[in-house]
């Protein structure tokens, strides 16, 4: 995983809940490639057509509030969002996005630093976000080691896969010795 990410910024307001990211009518869609056509249909209608891989979302407070639907971060991952940065997150969205391997950074005050179209540089290790366009930057508390490990593995699926594989290997070697 790259620890310094750079991308074009899309800004969002406060309280962008999961209904505004992926509406209830799309919840029976399982294919992320299909879901991504509808991402931010309510909050940022032009995003789905114009987003490029590596783009960075910068939101105000309480991003991703509302339901537990993982369709929201799944659609973002499918479209190639490089990182999601917000003044604050709702808790289930935060977990879901990290579990899917999307760098998800809480940085109080960050929204005021950016306009749509700016370039952002996010340094995960140092804990700093810079608006490359304006030169202004802001520090954030780096993610705890537990979560950096999860991102490093590429998400929860890969982390658990390695864990189960290690457990099976240990059991097999105990069996071989016995």
């Amino acid at each position: 995983m790259k620890t310094v990410l750079e991308g074009r910024v899309w800004t969002l307001g406060r309280d962008v809940d999961t209904d505004q990211i992926i509406s209830g009518k799309y919840l029976t869609i399982l294919d992320p490639e299909e879901l991504k056509k509808h991402v931010f249909e309510i909050a940022l209608p032009e995003f789905a057509a114009k987003a490029r891989p590596g783009d960075i979302l910068v939101a105000d407070e309480n991003f991703g509030s509302g339901s537990s639907r993982e369709h929201a971060p799944q659609a973002m991952r499918a479209i190639g969002v490089g990182a999601v940065v917000a003044d604050s997150f709702a808790r289930i969205f935060f977990r879901n996005a990290i579990n899917l391997g999307i760098p998800t950074i809480e940085a109080p005050g960050v929204r005021a630093l950016f306009s749509t179209g700016d370039t952002a540089r996010v340094d995960l290790g140092a804990g700093r976000i810079t608006n490359v366009t304006s030169g202004r930057s802001i520090a954030f508390p780096p993610l705890p080691g537990h979560l950096l490990d999860l991102l490093e593995a590429g998400g929860l699926v890969e982390k658990v896969r390695r864990e189960l594989e290690a457990a099976r290997a240990a059991a097999a070697s105990r069996g071989a010795r016995g």
């Binding site: 537990s68 808790r91 929860l156 658990v160």
Partner: protein, 427 residues
């Protein structure tokens, strides 16, 4: 008391200590908790692929897993039928026998409550944000996403950051026409949608002690709208009486220490509290009902349903107001019980007849109009009076549609008047 840390512990801290085996823990610490109960609804269909990608061969404990279909019951689209099929196949392959399929269905949280799946001291997780409701059992119950659920099914545990706790102490008695829903709306108006983010909310005080279990379900349910990780009431006689005949596994009743450390304490006196309404477009945009009534807000739809307020007590209360009255011309009134058991009880008590005589639609149990993906969908100019929990833009359909959240009694009064109305005026 935990002597070495120098202060008492909250209910959330005690449950997480029990489930993680880490006796000394502080807010912010990350612990691994063993799960007592895992619940999936249709979103569980998305756990199947990650479960296999993880290389998991079996579910850690099939007797601790409940699958409940509720959002699209019976399947209303091909997509929903696909989710149901995936879940049935997965359940058969992994021996998940506690499967509430069409005909035995209900809203997942109500199923967990009425069949005793969550008991005091439990760590419960579900693929729905309103899993917080089960905190009313004196449990730590929280929502997670489907990839995380796949890990829980494989391992039986998950990481949790120990939350700081907020204490909400309530005293006083509800006046006529005032309910637990009005209390939680009143609290949301003060705490706001971000006021309890990542926090555990613990309700206590004489008013809470007098609340029935269904009323406790309502208040814990909407701690989700404050951003809370869990909302809970310490177990007492009401909890034990409710669970005694139905509890599915052993209880570990825990209470906060008298000197527990809370990040914030909120005191509320409900003696003079009026009925409340959450206006568009946020559950924290709360005003006294009488102020909104004065504005003569015409409605197109009324909805008495959802995991927040569609239990038998809510429907009895609604039917008592509805009896002998008619739904106003031009209003569609949808009533959806929270479970099939509640539906059957309504049938026995003549409640269905009261609503259908009045011109309401009494549907089978499901999440129904609450989430804008199945039925009762609103068009752009439309307004709905609802007993559900969210009124964000686009929640029930078009993003311009306006949803007002209120008690079941106020929903029925509004259906009768054709505009947002005060149930006390009809008493």
């Amino acid at each position: 008391m935990s002597p070495s840390s120098g202060h008492g512990r909250t209910l959330a801290e005690k449950i997480l200590a029990r489930t993680s085996g880490v006796e000394e823990l502080v807010p912010g610490q990350i612990v691994e908790g063993s799960v007592d109960l895992a619940m999936m609804h249709e979103q569980g269909a998305q756990t199947v692929a990650p479960f296999h990608q993880m290389g998991a061969e079996k579910v850690w404990d099939p007797d601790r897993v409940v699958v409940a279909l509720d959002h699209w019951v019976p399947a209303s689209t091909e997509g929903a039928a696909g989710l149901h099929r995936i879940l049935r196949k997965f359940a058969a392959e992994t021996n998940l026998s506690h499967f509430y399929d069409v005909g035995h269905h209900g809203i997942c949280h109500q199923i967990l409550a009425e069949d005793g799946w969550v008991v005091p001291g439990d760590l419960a997780v579900g693929t729905d944000s309103h899993t917080n409701m089960l905190g009313a059992m004196g449990a730590f119950a929280t929502g997670i996403g489907p990839t995380e659920m796949a890990a829980v099914l494989a391992l039986g545990r998950l990481w949790l950051k120990v939350p700081a706790s907020i204490s909400i102490q309530v005293k006083g008695s509800f006046g006529p026409g005032v309910t637990a829903k009005d209390l939680i709306l009143r609290i949301l108006g003060e705490v706001k949608t971000t006021g309890a983010t990542y926090r555990a909310v613990e309700f206590s005080g004489p008013t809470i002690e007098r609340l029935s279990m269904p009323e406790r379900f309502t208040i814990c349910n909407m701690t989700t709208e404050m951003g809370a990780k869990a909302g809970m009431v310490a177990p007492d006689t009401a909890t034990f009486d409710y669970l005694a005949p139905i509890a599915k596994h052993a209880m570990h009743p825990l209470r906060a220490d008298p000197d527990a450390q809370y990040e914030r304490t909120i005191s509320i006196d409900v003696d003079a509290m009026p009925p409340m309404v959450a206006c568009p477009y946020s559950p924290d945009n709360v005003r006294p009902l009488t102020d909104v009534v004065r504005e003569h807000v015409r409605i197109d739809q009324a909805f008495l349903g959802s995991c927040t307020n569609a239990r038998i007590e809510d429907l009895r209360e609604g039917a008592a107001i509805m009896k002998g009255q008619k739904v106003a011309k031009g209003v569609r009134f949808i009533v959806s019980p929270a479970s099939t058991k509640i539906y059957d009880q309504c049938l026995k008590e003549g409640i269905i007849q009261v609503f259908t005589d009045a011109g309401a639609v009494f549907t089978n149990s499901s999440c129904s109009a609450c989430f804008g993906g199945n039925m009762g969908i609103l068009d752009r100019e439309e307004v709905c009076a609802s007993s559900s929990n969210r009124n964000f833009p686009g929640r029930m359909g078009a993003k311009e549609a306006r949803i007002y959240l209120m008690s079941p009694a106020a929903v029925v009064a509004s259906a009768i008047e054709g505009e947002i109305a005060d149930p006390r005026a009809l008493a």
